[in-house]
Each structure stands twice: as structure tokens, then as C-alpha cells.
Symmetry: C2
Subunit: 273 residues, 2 copies
């Protein structure tokens, strides 16, 4: 048996999230079906990030064990005919038999996209939330600075989060939180991207941060208010959970690659991370 | 009666083109339904560009006549509840009663988008054609230069074009044809945009130019071959008609605006062009 790792991209619009559930369409469910159909084995993948319904990914990670003889780096192509057009494998490689995508230190990068303008751009409706009007990105950047570093992010987590319910640690590290704006001349609007890198994120954390920074951008809060919210450790003080469709898991960068062996053999697995 | 002009944006993926046809979903059909529902009149719009099935627009133009009292610049908002989410009105204004979107001199801007990489990016699958591999954009730009200016574009037109069948003039002017490339790090790929401005385009002309420049980009033809194709006035020598999903009508810039009156009254109609 070998353990194969996939870097998975998907348009999450038409799925009930990553995690397999009976009777609904999920990314994990489609991956299991596709890999089982290809290998003839009964496959259940282990995913790195169980993204919510409607959330997208360019770099989620999943592993599975197989006795198939297909070379590790060919799975990305071999799976193509078995996958729906909104799920693609970006790369595939072999990892150590005990390498687990949720039990290895990593840096996750998420991007939250907001389309601002008088009307929605229909080409962006799947990949961006729509905000009617303008947002002050300078103030949003100022507010974002209070979140960078190691903090207790209880205020920015869904209280139904397993971690919080079980009395777990809400301390996470945000390495960077950049806000960029690109003008869309045709629509007299603009596309705002919040790119956030961290050691890990609590349930709904990126979307609650997005909802809070939007409150700053539209002038409802001063940037300093974000510090007050952070210190309060109270979800009720933060902004709303921004819509799922604006969220994209960009990348998961594993610090221990778990590919030491395969790197020597194939020399190509570095691409995955 | 007033004549109202709409600037219309749509994701054309799920439509059988712009032009109304019985029993299928079209942009024109949806516009007619929405405006009729809003005004209570039986409305048939006149469109500027009858884009093909699967082709998108950010700036198509349509006009209609109405006795409704809704201010011209409010139609873009008033129509929102009556339109599907993949069609939006970017702006609306009033024009002279005899202003016709196909009978006024204009500059049309189209963009053709190609996603190049080892696998398709699922977030771009509606708005870009996929090319597996790399294209040489420098050679494509070199080839594009032969097409700029006033030429007979018979080689780059669908021979079933009404204009050609009726022995009409295939001479058109291309003002510019720019090729840009943006790297997509996550996918080890790139997004190539061909932006073309012209006095008008024959049926399938932009897509046949795209298919021909792809032949150059992948090394199948030398850039100079495009000049040979152009001179031959023979469709069989050009490249294939590139997929509809990569094509977007970006803008129609009318040289005679037809808004002289309303500009004085509202001072806001300049946005439309």
C-alpha cells in the first residue's frame, strides 16, 4: 500500500462543503467515487480542510491509501475522466504511510474576495461576495494590523466550533493579512481581496474577520474597534459571518513535507507544497 | 414614449446566445420578460450585439421603448428583482427616439481568455477556454500585428455569415489587438487575454482570430503565416473557431452617443459609454 497525496481545487458553489455526508453532493464524496472508480478499491480520502458549503479551494489537500500501480504523479491526470468539471487535482505525489494532512504543522492561506460596485458583476458572482457601495481599504488594512500575530481569536470564531465547545485553545497565529484592491472599469466597481496566512483557523474565523473588516471599510467602526473586539473574547462583538462564496482556501504549506522519500525518487513532489 | 438604453452584462454559460428564440433560454428573452414584468408593457428589446451561445458580455447594449414613468437611470436597479443572477444591468439612460444600437458607428472591444496549464482551474472554467500546455505570447503578439488596420477579413469569418452570403463587404478595421499574460502560481499555469478593438466584427471573427493565434502560440505556425492567411481570403486557411466560453464582449463605445438631450437633463449618461 502507498499513501497518495492530492492537491485539490474546486468551485464549491454547487457542493454542500468538503466533508462527505449521506444524500448530498460533497467534494469528499466526489473524490471517493472518482478514486474508487479509477483504482477499483473502496477509497475514503482524509482531507486537510473541511471547507464549508459554498467555499472554494485552489489548494486543499487530501490523502488516500492504494495498492494501485499508477505512478503517484499521474493520479492528477488519471482521475480527470472520473471528476466533475468543478473539481480538479492540481498535483499528486506519494507521502510516508503515516503522513496525515491534519496532523502536520502547516501555514494555511485563505483569500476572501469582495466585489464592490453599484451592481454585481455576473462573472464574479460565484467567487466573490457583493457589497453595494465602496469600502475604505486603507482603514481595513489599518484594522487588519491588530489581528496579525498570536492572539486568542474567540471573538472571531463560531461558538459552535468543536474546539471552543470542548474548552480547547483558541490561540492562533496570523502571519499576514493583506488587503488589495483592483478597479473594474467596466462596472465602476472594484474587487477587494483579503489574503490571510495563519497557523490554523477556528471555525468560520476567516469569514468573521472578513465581516468585521467590512464593518470598518464601510465606516461603521473605526479601525481601533477591531482591537476592542479581539480583547473581549466575545463573538457577539465581532461583525457578521461574511458569505461563503467569497472564501477560497488558496494553499496549505506543510512545514514537514512528509515527502522525504519520494522527493529522492521522483524529484517532483515539491510542487505540491 | 421614451427610448431607454441599457448596458447589459451576463455570464452566457447557461444561455443559447443573446437573440430570442422559441423554447430556449436567451439573454434577449430574459430581458424582454424582466422589462415587461416591471413596466406592464409588452417589451421587445433591440440588442447591439447578438452574441453566440456561451459567449459572455460586460458591456452589450440594448434599447426599448416605454411609456413607464421610471427615471431612465433607475432602470438598472428597478430591473434587478426581475432578472436571473447571471444577467445584470450596468447602467441605463435615455436616448433619442430613433437611436439604434446597430445603426450607429461604434468601437467594439472583445476579450478572449485562454487558461494555460497542466490542468484546468475550475474557478475559470466558465470564463476561459483551457489549453493544456504553454503558449508563446511574444509570437502571438507578433502575429497579431499583421491583423491590425483595415483589411478584408474573409479568412477569419464563418462562411455562413449573412454578410458574406449576401456578397457584402468583409473589410473591417482592427484598432488594436493586445495580448497579456498573468501567471497563476497556484496552478503552475497562466491566464492569457487577447483584447481586440475594432469597428465591427464578422460572424465568429474574434474566435477564429483566437484559434489562429493559438496555432502560432503553440508553435504550429510562424507569426508571418497569419499574413498569408489574411491575404488568401479563404476561411479554410485560418485556425479553428476557439470555444465560445473564452469570449467576452467588453464594451461598445458609440462615437455618436445619441444622448445629447439626456446628458443635459441628467448629466449622468456618460457612464454608459
Amino acid at each position: 500500500m502507498r499513501r497518495i497525496r492530492l492537491k485539490v481545487a474546486y468551485d464549491g458553489t454547487d457542493y454542500c462543503g468538503f466533508q462527505a455526508q449521506p444524500e448530498v453532493s460533497t467534494i469528499e464524496g466526489k473524490l471517493n467515487l472518482a478514486i474508487s472508480a479509477l483504482t477499483g478499491e473502496e477509497i475514503s480520502v482524509i482531507g486537510a480542510s473541511r471547507t464549508d458549503s459554498g467555499v472554494h479551494a485552489l489548494g486543499n489537500v487530501a490523502v488516500f491509501d492504494t495498492a494501485s500501480a499508477i505512478p503517484a504523479d499521474r493520479f492528477m491526470y488519471a482521475l480527470l475522466p472520473f471528476l466533475p468539471e468543478d473539481i480538479r487535482i492540481v498535483s499528486s505525489d506519494e507521502v510516508e504511510a503515516d503522513w496525515h494532512p491534519r496532523k502536520n504543522e502547516c501555514i494555511k492561506t485563505y483569500r476572501y474576495t469582495i466585489y464592490c460596485g453599484p451592481v454585481e458583476n455576473p462573472m464574479l458572482r460565484r467567487a466573490a461576495m457583493f457589497y453595494k457601495g465602496r469600502l475604505d481599504t486603507e482603514k481595513m488594512s489599518e484594522a487588519a494590523a491588530y489581528l496579525i500575530g498570536e492572539h486568542d481569536f474567540t471573538s472571531f470564531a463560531n461558538p459552535s466550533s468543536q474546539v471552543l465547545i470542548s474548552g480547547g485553545d483558541a490561540v492562533r497565529t496570523i502571519y499576514s493579512l493583506d488587503i488589495s484592491e483592483e478597479t473594474d472599469k467596466a462596472f465602476a466597481g472594484s474587487k477587494i481581496c483579503m489574503t490571510i496566512k495563519g497557523s490554523g483557523f477556528l471555525y468560520n474565523m476567516v469569514r468573521i474577520i472578513a465581516g468585521s473588516l467590512i464593518n470598518v471599510g464601510r465606516g461603521h467602526w473605526e479601525p481601533e474597534h477591531i482591537r476592542t473586539v479581539l480583547r473581549a473574547k466575545d463573538r457577539r462583538l465581532a461583525g457578521p459571518t461574511a458569505e461563503a462564496r467569497g472564501l477560497m482556501l488558496m494553499d496549505i504549506d506543510y512545514i514537514r513535507l512528509g515527502t522525504e522519500n519520494t522527493n529522492e525518487i521522483h524529484g517532483s513532489s515539491g510542487k505540491t507544497d
